[in-house]
Amino acid sequence: MFHQLFHDVLETVRCSLADGDADALVLKKHIQNPIPKSQKPWDSALLIQSINSHSSLLKLKSGLVFCLCREEQTVSMEVGQMQRRLIEYTKSLFMEGILDDQFLQLQQLQDESNPDFVVEVVSLFFQDAEKLLNDITRALDQQSVDFTKVDAHVHQLKGSSASVGAQRVKNGCIAFRNFCEEQNVDGSLRCLQQIKQEYYHVKNKLEALFRLEQQIVAAGGSVPMMELSF
């Protein structure tokens, strides 16, 4: 990680500064002044080497420090941005009714021992749902539709979508079951279409959400916990 490299370098520099370097005071003053942006990121190993071999090179030291500080700043700014973006995004999903409170429950279940819990569960849901949707499509495609079977499939889809918080999909299933009871093939087909749409919609949204999370983690940040404050 770019950021990581600089972090290491920065640490090295700081350590050397802490050794009671006579230049420490001067360096501190320099740290206040931002380094021009044209400064290139240096190879950390080289940098460290230079620092150690030229401990008395105050300028070099200070330059490095500035550089690193800036980098850190930038990165943290980026991470922060990403986190904010994530929160906003998740909020919007809730507002639109694509996700409901159950999704928050899942997030709360996630912890250090199981950091990918939500992703795993949602992936399971995707697999299961797609299989069910296919089954339903096939069942409705039959000459004589077995609505008991269709109903069973829909019931299961309802259960699993409710469990992950895919609210719109769940609602679609509820509507679907009414058509099943009426043995209404056309109505069922239409309903199925709608459910499929909702399903792919939520799938896209969740996948985008997970990507954001990954970026934050990659940038060294942590995924913020959603709160039901909206």
Binding site: L106, L109, Q127, G159, S163
Partner: protein, 681 residues
């Protein structure tokens, strides 16, 4: 082996037991609750598992109902609660619910995305203890432990109501449930018993008072009717509706019968399972399972043992059974071999009237049978150890059983009283039957009494308790009073009685230490003792009384006693050990008494040698191998009482007592108005 398996599960189970009891380890509970989740939806399954883990439960997930059932069957005590989806492809969730309820009697929570009223109602009618709507929230899962506790409480309450089981037994019951399948799990039993002892007092009142659920109390009578109906229909064909019709009890619903039938079936299954592959020893432990409350009570055990040995008179069985049924199912602490309940019932013979039939009974073979079981092989130390702990009783029983045959039956009988006594003394017996203690006493003090009590106790727990209690005090008292002179020189037809008393005194109840044989003068001393006994009375003092009884015997070195002692073993038997044995048979008698009392133990200690031939004659099986060597102490001690009381005298005295209805005794067993006569066969 079972035990190890149980142990394995015990380690979890013990912790489970702890938290199941909810009183023992409140901090841990409900953590560690063993949940089985069944759902064909993988997403839900994973989510539920995670949620339950977060609640600190032990989760096993399963996506097929069949697999879940087999898991439950393999590991009967492996789970505490089951959560199952309603709609599953391989088996309907409600069907699974039924299976679990019948076979394992675990609380089951149904779960579904369907929240229609009908489906929920279906869950209720099928016996689900809760119904969760998907998506399930973790908050809903946090509280599922309440169903486990509630179920246990209700079972106990049921038992309590019907069998005067103390709340304290609950823990024991719980632990029993856990390790009922582990045969010689005496340690556990003991521990649980201790636990029960400690807590029963405090908990009992509170718990009973808080349990307000109105339930059908399956009294002894009711259960007798139920069993009669079931037997009439045939166990396989017995359906709740028909049973209900046959029983013709107003106010009883089909649901009541159905649930009772469930438990009964489970109980039977356990019985057969246990008796088959386990020795008597095991059977001792197994009866303790509380699934079939009534039966597992002491009474049931007694009956079973007796029936197993074939010695138990039908009446005894009946009474015992009845008593057992009425009583708590919890282990009375006396591990008794499980005998097929049907056998027990078949043994029922409403002839358990000591009052009338005593004499006859005494003379009949049946009483003899009682003595048969007196194991002569009991080692003295066994006796001591046995008596001193519930375990010992259990082991005693076990030994008794190992002797098998009649001997065991006798032993069992004897043991039971003793064990009961012990239990009572240990204040464990929540069961009505304070009997044991009382049983012990009479035996001790009066050979006959002991015999009688033994019979009483065994034959009819409910009654027996009454009797037992009565005998100890009453018999004691009565005998000395009534029969001082008479008995003095009489050879007791009961024979056993003297022996019993002797034996008993010698027997487990600290006989060794009973140096205070007051009974030197025979009656007089015994009388005093009786008085003392009376004062103590029942329940808490049963043991004391027993000891006292022992004392009696001990002090009696009297020669006359000797003659009586000979009879001792046959106290139970009634066959009256001819007084021929008397000569110096004190020891024998004592031995016998002991044997009688402690069953096997007594025999050992007593100087059965003299008796043996005699006993053999007397006893049908002569399984009582009264050791020839008499323990010197025993001699003196045991002879005291027995000698003075002719069997008949004692019996009549006892009968009188019993009939007189020592209130306490009777009431202890909650058998008010329940007479042996009424025991439906």
């Amino acid at each position: 082996m079972n035990q190890s398996n149980c142990k394995g599960s015990m380690s979890t189970a013990s912790s489970s037991t702890n938290w199941k009891a909810n009183d023992v380890v409140p901090d841990q509970f409900p953590a560690g609750l063993r949940v089985l989740v069944v759902d064909d939806d993988p997403t839900c399954l994973v989510i539920l598992e995670k949620m339950l883990r977060t609640c600190l439960y032990e989760v096993t997930k399963c996506n097929r109902a069949e697999v879940a059932l087999s898991m439950l069957r393999e590991n009967k005590n492996g789970f505490d609660i089951v959560i199952s989806d309603v709609h599953m492809p391989d088996m309907d969730g409600f069907k699974l619910l039924e299976h679990i309820g019948l076979e394992m009697d675990l609380p089951v929570i149904m779960m579904s995305a369907d929240d229609g009223k009908q489906v929920v109602m279906k869950g209720v009618t099928h016996g689900a203890c809760d119904y969760l709507i998907k998506p399930v929230r973790i908050e809903a899962l946090k509280n599922i432990w309440q169903h486990v506790v509630r179920k246990k409480k209700n079972e106990w309450k049921d038992l309590e109501q019907s069998g005067s089981v103390e709340e304290g037994d609950r823990q024991q019951k719980l632990s029993e449930d856990v390790d009922y399948s582990s045969s010689a799990n005496e340690g556990n039993w003991k521990n649980s018993k201790k636990r029960k002892d400690e807590e029963e007092e405090t908990e009992e009142r509170d718990d009973t008072s808080t349990l307000k659920k109105p339930r059908v109390v399956w009294s002894v009578e009711l259960h007798q009717q139920f069993v009669a109906a079931v037997n009439q229909l045939g166990i396989d064909k017995a359906v709740p509706k028909k049973i209900l019709e046959l029983m013709n009890v107003p106010g009883l619903t089909r649901e009541n019968v159905a649930s009772h039938l469930q438990k009964y079936r489970l109980y039977l299954r356990r019985l057969s399972g246990v008796s088959q592959h386990q020795g008597m020893n095991n059977s001792f432990m197994s009866p303790q399972d509380a699934t079939f409350g009534a039966m597992s009570s002491l009474n049931g055990l007694d009956l079973q043992t007796l029936s197993v040995t074939g010695q138990l008179p039908a009446q005894s069985l009946a009474t015992l059974q009845a008593a057992g049924l009425g009583r708590s199912t919890t282990k009375s602490g006396i591990p008794m071999p499980l005998v097929d309940q049907r056998n027990l019932f078949s043994f029922e013979n409403p002839k358990l009237r000591f009052g009338e039939g005593q004499q006859q009974q005494m003379s009949s073979n049946k009483p003899m049978n009682l003595l048969h079981g007196i194991p002569t092989t009991m080692e003295p130390k066994q006796l001591a150890s046995l008596h001193q702990s519930a375990q010992s009783i259990g082991s005693m029983n076990m030994q008794v059983n190992t002797h098998g045959g009649q001997g065991s039956s006798l032993l069992m009988q004897m043991a039971q009283p003793q064990s009961r006594g012990q239990i009572l003394n240990e204040s464990t017996s929540s069961h009505g039957p304070r009997l044991p203690s009382s049983i012990g006493q009479p035996i001790m003090t009066n050979g006959i009494a002991g015999g009688v009590i033994g019979r009483n106790g065994i034959g009819d727990n409910s009654r027996g308790t009454g009797y037992n209690q009565v005998p100890p005090s009453s018999s004691m008292l009565s005998f000395p009073m009534n029969h001082t002179t008479e008995l003095a020189g009489n050879s007791f037809p009961l024979g056993s009685s003297p022996g019993i008393s002797n034996v008993t005194s010698k027997g487990p109840f600290q006989e060794e230490g009973n140096s205070e044989m007051k009974g030197s003068a025979g009656f007089i001393s015994s009388y005093d003792i009786f008085n003392d006994l009376n004062q103590h009375q029942h329940k808490s003092h049963d043991w004391e009384l027993q000891n006292v009884g022992l004392h009696f015997d001990a002090s009696q070195n009297a020669n006359p006693i000797q003659g009586n002692l000979d009879v001792s073993p046959s106290v139970l038997v009634h066959q009256g050990y001819s007084s021929s044995q008397r000569s110096g048979q004190n020891r024998n008698a004592s031995a016998v008494g002991r044997a009688m009392f402690s069953g096997v133990e007594c025999v050992e200690q007593g100087n059965m040698q003299n008796f043996s031939p005699h006993l053999n004659n007397l006893l049908v099986d002569n399984s009582i191998r009264v050791k020839a060597e008499t323990i010197p102490d025993a001699n003196s001690q045991t002879t005291l009482f027995t000698e003075h009381f002719g069997q008949d005298d004692l019996m009549s005295a006892l009968l009188k007592q019993q009939q007189g209805g020592i209130g306490t005794a009777e009431t202890d067993f909650d058998l008010d108005g329940y007479s042996m006569d009424n025991i439906p066969v």
